[in-house]
């Protein structure tokens, strides 16, 4: 069997002296769709950003040598401040030809090229970000699900797209979500996180009611406290 594509050992992340992730270890095999699951503020996005090298950390993060990472961030906050069209957005990183090819492969018509990024719907923009991450032909895709702004059909479109891309391009996917249906439908491995690691394994086996209760307990307490 091939070497794992990613090995994480005893990962600790501290931001502004607050501990966000404590003692996390897991492995990702080639072709896995791994979901990082947890309540709000559990450190899911931080974990993804740490894995792509945005945040400093202690412990070990070992990507296999031949890994090329594509990263889809959860938010791109200032996009509406800059008048830039889809083609120009891709030209920041690649050629017009590659942009056309990729956009076609994620199901866009050519007319999208001249659309202003700020004018796209959030669903369209999310697909553009996925397409943008596919530049330079990555073999691992990290996808941070947007918290809001995308309706259910938009959500389905994006996950169907990810799954199609996975098959076509033989991608390994790491995704952050808090949607359980996404976990059961699309992924073969789950890492549950609420600052400390809670569980990991095949979703149908490890996501028992008890574990889910434990995972979301803090959040439930928080709300009952306020009502």
């Amino acid at each position: 069997m091939k070497e794992p594509i990613l090995k994480v050992k005893n990962l600790n992340v501290k931001l502004d002296s607050e501990e966000i992730i404590k003692g996390l270890s897991f492995e990702v095999k080639e072709g896995d769709v791994l979901t990082i699951l947890g309540p709000n503020g559990a450190g899911k996005t931080v974990l993804l950003k740490t894995l792509v090298g945005i945040f400093p950390y202690k412990g070990k993060i070992e990507w296999r040598k031949d890994v090329r990472i594509g990263y889809v961030p959860q938010r791109v906050p200032f996009i509406k401040d800059i008048p830039i069209n889809v083609e120009e957005f891709f030209l920041l990183k690649t050629t017009s030809e590659e942009a056309r090819e990729i956009l076609e492969s994620v199901g866009f018509e050519e007319s999208i090229l001249k659309k202003r990024l700020g004018d796209l719907s959030s669903g369209q923009f999310q697909r553009i970000l996925v397409a943008w991450a596919l530049v330079k032909n990555p073999n691992v895709l990290l996808f941070d699900e947007p918290m809001a702004g995308i309706d259910i059909s938009g959500k389905e479109t994006i996950y169907n797209l990810l799954f199609k891309l996975k098959k076509e391009r033989n991608l390994t996917i790491l995704l952050v979500t808090h949607d359980l249906s996404v976990v059961f439908k699309f992924s073969n491995f789950v890492v549950c996180l609420n600052k400390c690691p809670i569980c990991q394994g095949v979703p149908k086996k490890v996501l028992t009611p008890q574990i889910l209760h434990k995972l979301y307990k803090e959040e439930v307490k928080f709300y009952t406290h306020h009502h």
């Binding site: 990263y71 906050p77 200032f78 401040d81 830039i84 069209n85 120009e88 990183k93």
Partner: protein, 253 residues
């Protein structure tokens, strides 16, 4: 060479490159920084006016000093940058008026581009071309950094390196700008053409070309106004700029 032609060359180039750089500053929400940095140069301008050397040459070390001071204080005190900028720029203004002769105050505050010499023009042309090419070179990377630092980092862009080049370009443009519009009005040179252009643009190409054009044309018209009415050029340039901005609101897409 004709004094008027020299003023036009200097003015149009400074206006155009400020407009171009302004598009980056606006997308980083930083246009206002050019204001305090301009105020900060006042002691340098005062020294230049008293001892009779190039105003931009006097201004430049003070912009750099200002940027470094704000940067160090930010690390030390963790106060927000706007508060530090306010502290540092008022200090600049205060020091300048301790020793600036009152008859020179007008030039220091609103600039005077109508007396530039051949030597100053050559320096301005050289610096403006240099900055223009630097901005062109870093433009795509800076836009990506402004859109999302995370995407820039994962695209292996050395953000620090680009920010330093960008800040250096701002420092030089502010130093050149005070020659034209004085220590008070430098923010307008970067903020107004870019804002007007953003109102009208559908894409980056239009955004940068229009901003550069608006910067150039308002300097040109401002200096013409001085030529034919003897109204001061600096404020005229800013007023033309603002008129362009008002028109851009009407045609806003």
């Amino acid at each position: 060479m004709n004094q008027f032609i020299l003023s036009l060359i200097t003015g149009i180039l400074i206006g155009a490159v400020s407009g171009y750089l302004g598009t980056l500053m606006l997308s980083k929400r930083m246009t206002l920084v050019a204001g305090p940095l301009g105020h900060l140069t006042l002691p340098g301008i005062a020294l230049a006016l008293i001892y009779g050397f190039d105003v931009s040459l006097g201004a430049f070390p003070f912009v750099i000093l200002g940027i470094v001071l704000i940067w160090i204080l930010e690390i030390w005190t963790k106060l927000p940058m706007e508060a530090l900028t306010a502290i540092v720029f008022s200090l600049g203004v205060a020091i300048a008026f301790l020793f600036l002769p009152i008859e020179q105050a007008k030039t220091a505050l609103i600039g005077d581009i109508t007396k530039v010499g051949v030597y100053e023009t050559i320096i301005t042309v050289t610096l403006c071309s240099l900055i223009f090419f630097v901005i062109r070179k870093i433009y795509a990377k800076m836009i990506l950094i402004n859109i999302s630092e995370d995407l820039a980092k994962t695209s292996e862009i050395d953000i620090k390196k680009y920010n330093i080049l960008y800040l250096l370009a701002i420092a030089i443009i502010v130093a050149l700008g005070v020659k034209m519009v004085g220590g008070l009005l430098t923010a307008a040179l970067v903020a107004i053409p870019a804002s007007a252009s953003r109102n009208l643009s559908k894409n980056l190409f239009q955004y940068t070309s229009l901003a550069t054009f608006f910067g150039a044309i308002s300097s040109f018209l401002g200096i013409l106004i001085f030529k034919f009415t003897a109204l001061p050029a600096g404020p005229s340039i800013i007023i033309i700029n603002s008129l362009i901005f008002l028109v851009s609101i009407i045609f806003k897409r």
